[in-house]
């Protein structure tokens, strides 16, 4: 959490000149989206780079969404859902996880750094964790630099 | 029925009568035995309690030496059986250890050689029917407590040829020979053989309880299938009797000796004279006169 705050504060736009990654986050409605809401209600700061798309379940996230995002200029993609075993729809996040693994392999094969695709588990009660995830994922993608396409 | 035979140290010394009776019985039942070439001691308990790797390296090397024959390895001693089986399990399930062993032995062993105890072979390969068919002198209702000891069935994942808590293989053989297999609770209780020399006080108690329950069940003798059990229960019967406060005088026979008797084996094959607690009396009781003649022969 401290991480997240310092990242948010020290990386003010005014102080930064370098690359700001565009990251799209697919958040499951029941856990992570609500967790992100909680981060808001608790006023826990984090970087602005990730923009959320609300989906009913992480299992809804089609591989094409991820590829589409990168094709259309995103530098990284985050898929986040309920913790394993907690899925609102029982197994959706397992499918998501499996798809995530396969996609990362495909990325490697295509010459895309698999780290551009990130996945996390974050529950509705984990506002602080969400802030941390955003900070970490942003940092990670920042390190990778802009996605130049393939 | 061909087998590669791993006798283990005792078979050539303390358990000479196990060896001779087993060889005789094997002949009768048509089992062909090829002794593992240049076999050596499996290390028994002392090796694996001192250095687990050594405890695995010794049996594994023996199995490697048995490999060229391509036959199942038959063994008589429960301790050897346990060690050889454990070596197999490690070779199959623990790749890290398998590699370390390959480094020591200079050859990789993948657990491909089945290790069988002779009880398993008797009942599952030879078959109870065959065992029965060869009987010349039925045991005439001899009341036998089969004692399997602790290592033959444990742990079940390693041993797996009979029920771990209430094994019956030996009982089936006894019944086939015309004896009465007794239901008794101490079939698999440990007799403390590993303390036979160092802590005879412990052995006295353990053997004493075993003997008491055998006696309670009405046993005329205890049948065993392991040299360590035999020598321990036989040798330490004095301590056992002292502990329990009764004179047991319980003959401890190898199951193969009972088989040899029933198959008409000669005195040398059966080797009844080798026990410390008089075992010949059992045969006399069963066959009366004729029996004693047979044993003399």
């Amino acid at each position: 959490m401290a991480d997240a705050e310092t990242t948010a504060k020290t990386k003010k736009k005014a102080d930064r000149t370098g690359f700001e990654p565009h990251i799209i986050g697919f958040l499951c409605n029941w856990c992570t989206y609500a967790g992100a809401d909680l981060a808001g209600t608790s006023r826990i700061g984090y970087p602005t780079n990730i923009k959320a798309v609300r989906v009913p379940c992480s299992g809804r996230v089609d591989a094409m969404y991820v590829i589409n995002a990168l094709k259309n200029g995103a530098d990284g993609v985050l898929v986040s859902g309920c913790h394993p075993g907690d899925c609102h729809y029982n197994q959706g996040n397992y499918y998501a996880r499996r798809r995530f693994m396969i996609l990362r392999e495909i990325f490697s094969a295509m010459g895309i750094n698999p780290e551009r695709l990130q996945m996390s588990w974050c529950s509705a009660a984990e506002g602080a964790k969400w802030a941390q995830i955003v900070a970490q994922v942003t940092e990670k993608i920042r390190e990778l630099g802009p996605f130049e396409g393939i | 029925m061909k087998y590669s035979y791993y006798p283990g140290c005792s078979m050539h010394s303390t358990a000479a009568e196990f060896e001779s009776s087993f060889r005789f019985v094997a002949g009768v039942l048509g089992m062909e035995l090829t002794e593992v070439e240049d076999w050596f001691c499996c290390g028994a308990t002392p090796a694996h309690i001192t250095d687990p790797l050594l405890g695995l390296a010794l049996p594994t090397q023996n199995l490697l030496q048995a490999r060229p024959t391509g036959l199942d390895v038959a063994t008589t001693c429960a301790a050897c059986y346990n060690r050889l089986k454990t070596a197999n399990r490690v070779a199959l399930e623990k790749p890290k250890k398998r590699e370390a062993l390959a480094q020591i032995l200079g050859e990789e062993y993948k657990g491909e050689i089945p290790v069988r105890h002779i009880l398993d072979i008797f009942v599952n390969d030879v078959g109870v029917d065959n065992i029965q068919r060869n009987v010349l002198f039925p045991l005439n209702g001899l009341r036998v407590a089969s004692y399997y000891g602790c290592l033959l069935t444990r742990p079940p994942e390693v041993a797996d040829f009979d029920d771990v808590e209430n094994p019956v293989t030996m009982d089936k053989i006894v019944e086939a020979l015309g004896g009465v297999a007794l239901e008794w609770p101490f079939k698999t209780e440990c007799c403390g053989a590993s303390f036979s020399l160092s802590r005879s006080d412990i052995v006295g108690r353990l053997a004493g309880e075993i003997m008491r329950y055998a006696k309670q069940a009405g046993a005329e003798c205890i049948a065993v299938a392991c040299p360590l059990c035999q020598s321990n229960l036989d040798l330490r019967q004095k301590e056992a009797s002292e502990y329990e406060g009764v004179e047991f005088n319980m003959p401890i026979l190898y199951i193969t000796q009972l088989m040899a008797v029933a198959y008409g084996g000669g005195g040398k094959d059966v080797g009844l004279g080798k026990a410390i607690v008089n075992a010949e009396s059992v045969v006399h009781r069963v066959f009366g006169h004729r029996g004693s003649e047979r044993v003399e022969r």
Binding site: A8, K12, H22, G40, K51, V53, D62, N68, Y95 | V164
Partner: protein, 674 residues
Amino acid sequence: MARIGVFVCWCGSNIAGTVDVKKVAEEVSKLPYVVYSTDYKYMCSDPGQNMIKEAIKEHRLTGVVVSACSPRMHEVTFRRTVQEEGVNPYMMEMANIREHCSWVHDDMEEATEKAIELVRMAVAKAVELEPMEKIEVPVTKRALVIGGGIAGIQAALDIADGGVEVILVEKSPSIGGKMSQLDETFPTLDCSQCILTPKMVDAAQHPNIKIYSYAELEELDGFIGNFQARIRQKARSVDMELCNGCGDCWNKCPQKKIPSEFEAGMSDRAAIYVPFPQAIPNTPVIDRENCIYFQSGKCGVCAKICPTGAISYDQSDEFITEEVGAVVVATGYDLFNTDVIGEYGYGEIPDVISGLQFERLSSASGPTEGKIVRPSDGKKPEEVAFICCVGSRDDKYGRPYCSRICCMYTAKHAILLHHKSHGSQAYVFYIDVRAGGKGYEEFLRRATEEEGAIYMRGRVSRLYRDNGKVVVKGADTLSGAQIELHCDMVVLANGITASPGAEELARKLSISYDEYGFYSEAHPKLRPVETNTAGIYLAGCCQAPKDIPDSVSQASAAASKVLALFSGDFLTREPNIAEVNPFTCTGCFTCREVCPYDAIDEEEVTVHIDGKKVTRTIARVNLGKCQGCGICCAVCRSNAINLKGTKDLQIFRQIKAFTGSEKEKSDEPVGSKK
């Protein structure tokens, strides 16, 4: 063409303090399809909502984007707002610029930039929104209860009292379940039969309850509100109408040596029998496996003796189909089979008995009329050992879970032993005593303090016979000692397992179950009586081991769910469910494999291909079952299945909008279909 209005909220200073709302409104006004945009202090207030309504009228808006707080907060509010002005409520989209933006960022410039992006994404989606209607399904107001133990009986009674007809299907010849076999019950020691039998009678006499005993569910079709249950009425070989329960048949039947299930094998029954005297219905059945007539064609004594001519050897199984709107599953449990634990010698040592056998020994209606004696010689046992966790909390036997009731019933057994067999001593071997219920700890203390049961903390390693006694090799881990007791009798507290056939039934119902065969609830905390299949509810031990109070609570909860479901003539559900495109679906049914709710049905469609008529089987989403998770959509290779409200196209537009590929009005307008 879509005409979108955007409303940017200040939320007082909550948003406006960090986000330049005016700038947001101005920037987004430049987006394609946006015909109006504005900002206001409190969008959710009455004036705010009126503003939206006015704008809809004035600018003929087809869609609305409210850029404010989280949709989890006010989505419903604004949907209602637009609906009131005649716009389909699902044409409203929210952009979360409060929780996801103003509250978590403090740099005005950055936050404003992000807010614009978020609104841009919302607008892109709004352009692709489609009107949707809530789903209404008619309901058949009748319920099916499967299993007639205490849980099933309670559920049936509660539903019936709510004025709804109930079909109660019980597989054994009588209802009553395990509770009918118990003696007194913890923690109050009231007599099980005294409290159960009146309920059984109530169920039998209730005008709204129809009982099929000796019957099983064969098949369940349909979905919530509209199930068709096919029930197999097994042949009783006795005509229920004619039989008056006189008992002549079972008294005269020559085949009397069949171990009685009800008495847990402690006494025998005849081939024609009622399980116990208070059975409901009190009509016997012929156990054909054991009947001489059915096995060899001889005998026929019962038919000769029956005064009413009720015996009917040529009866065969019958099938009945019942229409129901909801199902309560209450199939209970079975006891762990202790035979497999070799070291305990159950089945070999006669004086080693199960907990249920102890109940029968102790019950006044049992084989010994309540006298506690040992099975081997009928003598009073002096020393009795009770062993807890037998087949529970034991990985060796694949059951790591706690069976939850055995600690308590063992404490009860210890008390009953001391009550009924004076001078006997109970020794209880336990690992932990789990006494979490109301009055349970006090009950346990009664066993140890008042009754003097000796508790020893250790698992028993072995039991064996010695001179008519059972030797118990145990340990007391608290003192560190090994223990060897010579006991007269040993009672094993068998753990609880799923009832036989649980998995088969689950497949018929398409509900899920855990690795042990217990049925899975829809959510472990918040939906403990529902299954994943809408309209099917759980009660009692079929879901997990529980005691009677918990079984009854769950049964009443399930009943209230059923009654709530039946409170209207239609079920109303959110419309965001999956939808199959019949032209592109290839009928691969990958979607069915992943659907957690079994919501994919098959459908035959006839299409014309090259002038030829072709009939194909494709997927169809079951309106009653689909919960809108979208998992199916992500796996469909032909993109033939889509989730309403979160369609692929809607998401793609959002993605494009986010990355800025669709920023200015000058861009080619997207969504050409508008």
